[in-house]
Symmetry: C2
Subunit: 143 residues, 2 copies
């Protein structure tokens, strides 16, 4: 599997181990991870800290997002896809979108290349979480 | 003028006084301000802390965004508009959109009522900032 997706999965599992929502993300530029993060809604009591937002935040003020690729264990929602479009990230690789369709079409319509790896391991991790803690999942996506 | 926009403007000025980007925001539910914030890219060295994001963050985990209205001194960009759409905020009031068109059409297409107050004072505040610190402004919107 893509080594960078493995790092995003490691982030998701770190979050899960701390009682959080198991979604992880890394930002890669020219083969180097320049940011990583995971959903911290529960841990930081913060509605904005989706995995991708935490990752972009941790990458810091990099100035230009040219040549960056954003990895996520789940297809980004509109909040995170909005960041992708606004900051000009041109490629997003998601581990799966079967548990959540996210804003894939919105990104594509704005010229972002969106790849869905359709990974069974991530589909299982997320579906188990949604089954076990549905209230938390619905809160996370604003429903 | 709308008292809530006045509070958003006060946030923008607070940010400006601290050397930040002068954009402020408040979240209102049933006539009560439940969150407020301003752009803190400079102050916190954080690329994600747009005014609206800071505001939503400070509002905390409110669960449902039903009956909330988001005020901003500038038309929200895709990042902030993505949060509006994802969290189900149904009304956005912006002080102006002449310095930045933002993601108004995107929000409208997702059923958000978008109001543009077209306030001269806010247009002047923002245009002066963009003129004086263009590099910072372009960084903020990912350009």
């Amino acid at each position: 599997m893509d080594q960078f997706m493995n790092e995003a999965i490691a982030e998701a599992k770190k979050g899960q181990a701390h009682g959080g929502i198991p979604i992880g993300s890394v930002l890669v530029r020219e083969g180097v991870v320049i940011g990583r993060g995971h959903n911290k809604r529960v841990q930081k009591n913060d509605p904005i800290l989706h995995a991708e937002i935490d990752c972009l935040r941790n990458a810091g003020r990099i100035g230009s997002y040219k040549n960056t690729v954003l990895y996520s264990t789940l297809m980004p929602c509109y909040l995170c896809a909005g960041a992708v479009v606004q900051f000009g990230i041109k490629k997003v690789i998601a581990a799966e979108s079967s548990n959540f369709a996210g804003a894939s079409e919105f990104m594509t319509a704005h010229g972002v290349e969106v790849v869905d790896l359709d990974l069974d391991s991530c589909k299982q991790m997320m579906s188990k979480f949604i089954h076990d803690q549905q209230h938390l999942w619905l809160e996370d996506i604003g429903q």
